[in-house]
């Protein structure tokens, strides 16, 4: 680990935006304190020894499935709990053009 970045309220704000949550200024200050403590504690990893060769072990290969269509048995129920009273249709407030990616 190179130089540490200090936990600031600005950084907490940025992280909140990434997670789509918002904190009041008071909550933000509190959160900054606690996160700073926790992240400081993580410094103990600085003394981590190097890994021995072969320590990672052989990868356990993925179980693959055949390319077969299996319709969902829950098709009807999947949309039953859609919030916003939309029942069977998923609606959100109008989005801007352009994607997230």
């Amino acid at each position: 680990m190179e130089e540490k970045q200090n936990m600031t309220e600005g950084l907490v704000d940025y992280l909140c935006r990434l997670c789509r949550i918002s904190l009041t200024p008071e909550e933000c200050g509190e959160m900054k304190e606690k996160l700073a403590e926790i992240v400081d504690y993580m410094d103990c990893l600085r003394t981590l020894p190097p890994l021995e060769d072969g320590a990672e072990g052989a990868p356990c290969p993925a179980a693959l499935r055949a390319d077969v269509v299996e319709p969902s048995t829950q098709a009807e129920e999947l949309l039953r709990g859609v919030p916003g009273g939309a029942e069977h249709t998923i609606l959100v407030p109008r989005t801007m053009e352009g994607g997230g990616a």
């Binding site: 789509r20 993925a62 319709p71 999947l78 053009e97």
Partner: protein, 477 residues
């Protein structure tokens, strides 16, 4: 100021597997909204992805066909961001250990052959569809396409012209088509292309600031967009400004691109290895098995046709323009049709009939045995070519029996020497002037006489025989 345009492409290919990348939902097009979903592709709590083996096979095939080094132990990674078409709020993609890297594609343009570098190639899942409701301030979300398998192919910034880009895309389309892994239809969205473009002073080796262009729905649009954007950037720079790194949307109607309203300029996707999916191991044996079962690619066929059948380059190109067409041609040859004859018929009548009916080669109703039989009849002199063409049209749609048709309509060429001699004698009697002309050396009159004989024979005379007999008779004083 002389400028150079530098272009790189990111192409997304929808793979034509039956089921989605991580679940058993159907990938079929056109279902009612949210009718092809399950807990996995809808991102419900507790649902988990399971990898479709066909996607791995297709991806590795494409990687090898594009000359890439295939990563022996691959992993998936999560790309985290929020958008309603992404139910899990992350896309399962590959960043650190993709399917393949460092490949190349050879393209042919007017300027000659060129190699385009492939930076990397990876698997990822598609997102859902958003349908904006113009009346309400709402957007409908349809997850049917969510989880459909995509292959993303990223080139190095090796292109310099729109022509090169189109040549590459044609080549890529052909390769994917021959491998049978995708429909590759830009109009249907199974082939999507984003163009990264920058300009720099000619001779410089420093890359300029690039923009990314989206919403390019045809090769023509790509060519126009490249032209527009290159000019736009050059103008900006010539006026002393700076090109802004941004994503732009191509508007076909306005023939221009516009900066997309970006929420944040650079997204922090927080990529990390997908913990729900163990690594994908691709062994040497697996790769060999795939190579052994790989269908011949267009380029390979063209070489074969030239070497084995001695066909000219033009013919080879036409015949391999579509996999089904090449297959048809090869079947003809396998049934004994001489290669050049077969090629001519396929390039001529077959393509013509398809075009007239607006059919794709996969939908060819006539089968190789039928056409082979027809061609054989011509070779054997039992049908003249004009008649054969008519028979072809007649049997094309139902793949009818050529022997039966010819017999039923009495179309077999007239080769009875007696009949021909009598007809020739008749014609010579009725047309003394042309006869005199021929004897005087006027060749056109000979053709006229041949025509007259053929008419009498309802077009079914063997032209060779008719000529011979005519000549003989004319020669006899």
């Amino acid at each position: 100021m002389m400028w150079e345009t530098v272009i790189g492409l990111e192409t997304h290919v929808e793979l034509s597997t039956r089921s989605k990348l991580f679940c058993g939902c159907s990938t079929a097009f056109g279902g009612a909204p949210n009718s092809q979903c399950c807990p996995v592709c809808m991102g419900m709590p507790g649902a988990l992805p399971v990898l479709n083996r066909a996607v791995v096979d297709y991806a590795v095939q494409v990687g090898m066909a594009l000359g890439c080094a295939i990563t022996p132990v691959q992993r998936f990674d999560r790309k985290n961001y929020f958008y309603p078409d992404l139910p899990k709020a992350y896309q399962i993609s590959q960043l650190y250990l993709p399917v393949g890297r460092d490949g190349q594609v050879e393209i042919d343009t007017a300027a000659g052959r060129k190699t385009i570098g492939i930076h990397e190639l990876h698997m990822e899942e598609d997102a859902g569809k958003l349908m904006h409701d113009p009346w309400l301030e709402q957007t409908r979300v349809d997850y049917n396409r969510c989880g459909v398998p995509l292959l993303e192919i990223v080139t190095r910034p090796d292109f310099r012209t729109a022509e090169e880009v189109v040549a590459y895309l044609e080549k890529l389309k052909e390769t994917l088509h021959y491998l049978g892994v995708s429909d590759c239809k830009m109009e249907e969205g199974s082939l999507r292309c984003d163009v990264n473009l920058s300009v720099r002073p000619a001779g410089s080796d420093v890359l300029g600031t690039r923009t990314e262009m989206k919403n390019l729905n045809s090769f023509k649009a790509i060519a126009r967009a490249i032209g527009y954007e290159a000019r736009r950037q050059m103008e900006v720079l010539e006026e002393g400004g700076q090109v802004v790194q941004e994503t732009r949307r191509w508007d076909e109607n306005k023939d221009a691109s516009y900066a997309m309203r970006s929420k944040e300029n650079t997204q922090d996707y927080r990529y990390f290895p997908e913990p729900d999916l163990p690594p994908v191991v691709v062994s040497e044996e697996h790769k060999q098995r795939l190579l052994d079962s790989r269908p011949e690619l267009g380029e390979e066929k063209r070489r074969l046709y030239a070497q084995q059948y001695g066909l000219p380059a033009y013919d080879c190109q036409m015949l391999t323009s579509h996999r089904a067409l090449a297959a048809f041609f090869e079947a003809l040859v396998a049934l004994g049709t001489p290669a050049k004859q077969g090629a001519n018929w396929v390039m001529g009548q077959v393509l013509g009939a398809l075009s007239a009916r607006g059919l794709a080669p996969e939908a060819l109703p006539i089968t190789p045995p039928t056409l082979a039989a027809l061609i054989r009849m011509v070779e054997e002199g039992r049908l003249n070519r004009n008649t054969a063409v008519k028979v072809f049209e007649a049997v094309f749609d139902q793949d009818g029996d050529v022997e039966a048709y010819v017999a039923a309509h009495g179309l077999e060429q007239v080769r009875d020497t007696g009949v021909v001699e009598r007809t020739v004698a008749q014609v010579l009697e009725e047309h003394p002037q042309p006869v005199a002309d021929v004897r005087a050396g006027k060749e056109k009159a000979f053709g006229f006489l041949v025509g007259q004989v053929m008419r009498r024979l309802a077009g079914q005379g063997d032209p060779q025989l008719v000529r011979e007999v005519l000549q003989e008779k004319l020669g006899e004083g």
